[in-house]
């Protein structure tokens, strides 16, 4: 047998480990900051750059794509080389993957802080960054597939399958969800509108959880858990079975994020059915992970790494049971828009992703630096701090979610809302917010303890950048195959690439006509496009990420129609590029806010919310009053909207600015009557125009009918 000498690239793994740790601390720190901001409005510092609306997407993106993302790369780059008995395909691609990804993270952090955002959850990055993400992701994929092609081990271990699924699906999800029309370097509009945009976004959002937070981590679990336990996985057969069933089921469950929305009912039910089916493959993975430790539970007592894994896998099992339960309509009616959802998410992220990452790092660093962990005791302490932090985070959030939801739905015997003032239900749960912020701080403290431990470990060891090793060359495939199948069987990966490209082109061909033809959503005659000023106001709403805390979707429940007004219809959102339904009601729903309050009320409320609602937790938005509205590209925006199907008349782009100024003057005059002197060219005017327009289209119709 021909033994080949080669080396593993440890340097790239080290870089990704460093990035994981650094971004982990950054992302968690921002998380802790917003956990405090939510009940201490002064912590927004009255600065637009540090306000909750902009910080929250920064937190989610930093922990998902920077912390977890780099951890995936670190874990994959280490394990893939060893599983395939091959060095990574190309050191250059590895470097492009690493530096490209870090550049994306920095770009994301800067743009979000500046208010440059698409507003689509977990995909807020604007179009130039979206292109960078696609390119770097493809570099990662090519590097991985290239490595697989020159592998020296014929069998592809189950972890590798999870990695491949991650690459293929995330690529497709990212591209489809990023169909957007640029109007400037930092601004674009989603080509989808309203319900359709919502569906695409949650198809993406759900599958990002599936293929960015779940499948790569299952792959990591199948490598690092058996390694740390030094025993084979409980059932290799089960691992294969649950892999294939998981990836075939996951992609259909997205609509469960839109229950009771304006989405067609059959699509909602489809999402629910697939979500329930997902319990089986998810628990297959959890049980396989936990049962790997059968007969070795005594080692869990001593080994901090195994402790992390046990709780991580258990958290995975909990959240994959809870997820399907939340997709039942009756449970969802109660939990949606409340703190229950962040609690569910954080079981998954703090528990499954966070703890598994920590366990992996505690195992990898000593391995790569040829030494022992500096302190197993400190690692154990970290384990307990992190686990306690997680519990202190999620338990109060379940409590507050349930409390607030029940308060929203409570009627008096006379049939009116028991708590008609939304603020009352918020103030009720402030103690829970306080406890949550302590939980988050604990978790962050644990991560800092880990850094100390890892740095000490690295210092006492010696790092090998290129680890020499040797392995027999892979036997070439035998000549007994049928000729017609030979090409495919020899080149499964090329085949997969070619078919992906073909399918993507096919998808585009399918997509373009549907983009050009009119959508078949029932149109409501009285629903008209936004005026130029309202459109600018809407872009400010997006810039400040108001949808981080306010939904724009009244569900068809009496408790909601009593509180907010008529429930939302699909036809009302046909000009909403992008949709702004939101997913959380930290503040009240805004879909029917138009006409509810005076212009003066909105002005004073934005200046300082506590002037109008004493005790409100909303940040001040006083810069909207000082800053001049940027109307430079209004005609480009009108043109862009028209090409997306919004019926602005030909040539309207030339009158838009004039119309905008007229409407702004009207609002400024109205404010003047109330004794407020404000220039009509301020941003606040545009935002007021948008807020006053929200949800009023069908009111016009009702008024006409009466």
């Amino acid at each position: 047998m021909n033994i080949e000498k080669f080396s593993y690239d440890n340097q790239i793994v080290r870089l990704f480990i460093l990035a994981t740790v650094i971004w982990g601390i950054v992302g968690m720190t921002v998380g802790v900051l917003i956990a405090f901001q939510i009940y201490l409005p002064w912590l927004n510092f009255d600065l637009q750059y540090t306000t909750f609306g902009r910080m929250r997407p920064l937190h989610t993106n930093a922990v998902i794509f920077a912390f977890v993302g780099n951890a995936i790369f670190a874990g994959v780059y280490y394990s893939l080389q060893r599983l395939t008995k091959a060095r990574m395909f190309s050191d250059v691609l590895s470097k492009i993957n690493f530096w490209g990804w870090q550049l994306i993270i920095v770009a994301v952090a800067i743009t979000y802080t500046l208010g440059i955002t698409t507003s689509k959850e977990y995909a807020e990055a604007e179009w130039p960054i979206d292109i960078m993400i696609a390119l770097v992701w493809v570099a990662f994929g090519v590097n991985m597939i290239g490595t697989l092609m020159k592998r020296r081990e014929k069998h592809m271990y189950v972890a590798i399958w999870f990695y491949i699924a991650t690459f293929v699906t995330v690529a497709v999800l990212h591209i489809v969800n990023s169909f957007e029309l640029p109007v400037s370097l930092f601004k674009s509009y989603s080509v989808f509108a309203g319900v359709q945009d919502a569906l695409v976004e949650w198809w993406y959002g759900h599958n990002a959880v599936a293929f960015f937070l779940t499948t790569p981590y299952l792959g990591l679990m199948y490598y690092y858990l058996p390694k740390a336990a030094n025993r084979p996985v409980y059932s290799y057969r089960l691992s294969i079975l649950h892999f294939w069933s998981l990836i075939f089921l996951y992609i259909w469950a997205g609509p469960h994020h839109l229950l009771y929305s304006a989405l067609p009912n059959w699509a909602q039910s489809l999402g629910t059915v697939f979500s329930i089916m997902l319990i089986a493959p998810s628990w297959g993975g959890m049980l396989n992970g936990l049962l790997t430790l059968r007969g070795a539970w005594d080692r869990v007592r001593d080994d901090a790494v195994l402790k992390f894994y046990v709780v991580a896998v258990t958290a995975y099992g909990m959240s994959t049971f809870e997820g399907p339960m939340l997709s039942l309509k009756n449970v969802n009616a109660l939990a949606h828009f409340t703190d229950w959802i962040p609690a569910h998410v954080h079981i998954g992220t703090l528990g499954w992703n966070g703890l598994l990452t920590f366990g992996m790092l505690y195992w990898l660093v000593p391995k790569m630096w040829n030494t022992k962990l500096f302190s197993n005791k400190l690692a154990t302490a970290h384990f307990w701090i992190a686990t306690l932090g997680m519990v202190v985070w999620v338990v109060p959030m379940y409590w507050s979610g349930l409390t607030q939801s029940l308060m929203w739905k409570e009627f008096t015997p006379l049939g009116v809302l028991q708590y008609p003032n939304f603020l009352e239900t918020v103030l009720q749960i402030v103690p829970m917010y306080i406890i949550r912020s302590i939980g988050g701080s604990l978790y962050l403290t644990g991560a800092i303890v880990m850094i100390y431990n890892l740095v000490k470990t690295a210092k006492q060891g010696s790092f090998t950048a290129n680890e020499d090793t040797e392995a027999p060359a892979m036997e070439k495939a035998g000549g007994d195959n049928k000729k017609s199948h030979r090409w495919i069987e020899k080149r499964p990966i090329q085949f997969a690439i070619v078919s992906t490209v073909v399918i993507l082109i096919g998808g585009l061909v399918e997509f373009i006509p549907t983009w050009l033809i009119k959508s078949n959503i029932p149109t409501i005659e009285s629903v008209k496009p936004y005026t130029p000023l309202e459109l600018e106001g809407r872009d400010l709403y997006i810039r400040e990420s108001c949808n981080s805390c306010h939904s724009q979707l009244v569900r068809p429940f009496r408790s909601e129609t009593e509180r907010y007004g008529e429930y939302s219809k699909a036809g009302e959102f046909v000009y909403d590029h992008p949709f702004l339904w939101g997913s959380k009601r930290t503040g009240p729903d805004l879909h029917r806010i138009g006409g509810k309050y005076s212009n003066m009320w909105h002005y004073l409320h934005m200046q300082d919310p506590r002037q109008m609602s004493p005790g409100s937790l909303m940040p001040k938005y006083s810069w909207l009053i000082e800053q001049q509205l940027d109307t430079d590209i209004i005609s480009t925006k009108i043109n862009a909207m028209r090409s997306l199907g919004v019926p602005y008349e030909e040539g309207y782009e030339n009158e838009a600015l004039n119309d905008l100024q007229l409407q702004a003057q009207e609002i400024a005059d109205d404010l003047l009557e109330s004794g407020i002197i404000v220039e009509p060219d301020r941003e606040i005017i545009a935002l007021i125009a948008y807020l006053q327009r929200l949800g009023t289209d069908i009111k016009v119709k009702q008024a006409e009918n009466e």
Partner: protein, 64 residues
Amino acid sequence: MSAMLILIGFSLSVAIIFLIAFLWAVKSGQYKDRYTPSIRMLFDDKKNNDTNSNNHININRSNQ
């Protein structure tokens, strides 16, 4: 709901890619052996650590 067609199209495409991958895996004998791969992955340690990890495994085996 043209978006639904697009999503179903892309989702099916992904599913078909996976189906092809699955059929290839089965046909090429990836899953003929459903046991040794799980053992083999434990033995990819670098040479200077070999003795160490082997000891571990022996200890574990005797515990079972």
